[in-house]
């Protein structure tokens, strides 16, 4: 078998779907050809890594937005579409976000936004997105994110019982995925502190975590308000 003939079979070989005689021919070629062997090893590595990718989970907000969109649509279901507390959540999330923005949380987030804008501005004037930012600036922004995230984590941990089980499970799963991304970005930055891609990746993951926690706090606030008004129990599990 020549390299050109092997090239035609390589994907089926990597996928393990070649019939026995052809597979043996390929293996004979691989034992003699270092170039094809290297390519095959690479493709097998990629295939294996792809199969091990962790699943992603949609945030609870997708369902809330979807339900609201259907409710508002021309063929939408009636407001019976959602449970009482869910309707209240959709109606009050915007208010809750505003309230949160004026509270301690908002106080912690505003400096981050300003700081990040400043860093983005620095990056744009020093060569665009791909330019690594100064270590001190980077550290300052990261600390701001970390502090705000820690505060929001405290709130969600203390008030977790307010969430229904399904929402709490989705939150946990999403945080796990984001934390994994943060860990990988930090590991990459430990190896290469000036790597702008890793910097961007870390900020993106921190922003995702912040947004997820903000949404969660908004939902908690809305549900607590709903509960205080006596319109619905908070742990109905009607999301199941």
């Amino acid at each position: 078998m020549t390299c050109q003939e092997y090239d035609v079979q390589i994907d089926d070989y990597v996928d393990g779907v070649l019939p026995e005689p052809l597979r043996i021919e390929c293996e004979a070629h691989l034992s003699a050809c270092t170039s094809c062997r290297a390519l095959t090893t690479d493709l097998q590595t990629i295939r294996q890594a792809t199969r091990e990718l962790e699943p992603h989970v949609p945030s609870p907000q997708v369902w809330y937005r979807l339900a609201a969109a259907i409710d508002a649509g021309p063929r939408g279901f009636s407001t019976a579409w959602l449970g009482g507390w869910q309707r209240a959540v959709i109606g009050s999330v915007t208010c809750a976000v505003l309230i949160a923005g004026l509270s301690w949380v908002g106080g912690r987030l505003a400096p981050i936004a300003r700081e990040h804008d400043r860093v983005a501005s620095i990056a744009s004037t020093t060569g665009g997105d791909s330019a690594p930012i100064d270590a001190a600036e980077f550290s300052a922004v990261e600390q701001q994110y970390t502090a705000a995230i820690a505060g929001l984590e405290d709130i969600t941990r203390d008030q977790r019982a307010t969430l229904d089980m399904n929402t709490a499970d989705v939150l946990t799963a999403n945080l796990k995925v984001i934390d994994s991304a943060i860990g990988e970005s930090r590991a990459a930055l430990d190896r290469e502190p000036d790597n702008s891609v890793a910097q961007d990746s870390l900020f993106e993951a921190l922003r995702d975590k912040l947004a997820l926690l903000q949404d969660t706090v908004a939902i908690i606030s809305a549900m607590r308000q709903t509960n205080a008004d006596g319109t619905a129990p908070v742990d109905t599990g009607s999301n199941q």
Binding site: D11, T45, T50, L53, P55, L66, G73, W81, L82, E184
Partner: protein, 182 residues
Amino acid sequence: MRAVDLELVHRCQHGDAAAFEEVYRAHAGRLYNLVFRMAGSAHDAEDLLQEIFLLAHRKLGSFRGDSSLGTWLYRLAVNHCLDVFRSRQAKMARATESLDEEGAAEPAATSPMVPTAVSRLDLERAIARLPAGCRTAFVLHDVEGFEHNEIAKLLGVSEGTSKSQVHKARMKLRAMLSGVTP
């Protein structure tokens, strides 16, 4: 199974609020994974997932039970993503151009070039950078586990096209993960 699907769809069509939520809970996770890999970002994936279920809600009347509800939703999701990607053709064309150059820059190698332990982050990012056409075939085959004949039916292409698109994607991933840049 089909009878269960038909009953669920029947309930949705008659305004049973809980039934559509049941459909969402049962299928959103799998569809989100598909859409996330095809779109390349959580933000786009969540928008697409919402659009897909809105579309499903509108089109449930056309579900006849010829396939399972999961398969029907899956086709709907793939087709919707492809429609959206086609509408972003100009942007995608630029991405394809750039990646084609990367592919051309790939040197011959006599020893493996991809790190043995590929980081999830690097791989996710590389998949997101694939041109839309080959990314779709790659995601369906290597991530979702479809056979080429099934992908051919889903995408309306030949089996050979599916195979060549997956091969193209793998070679581009190899170039990207090896750090070969144009």
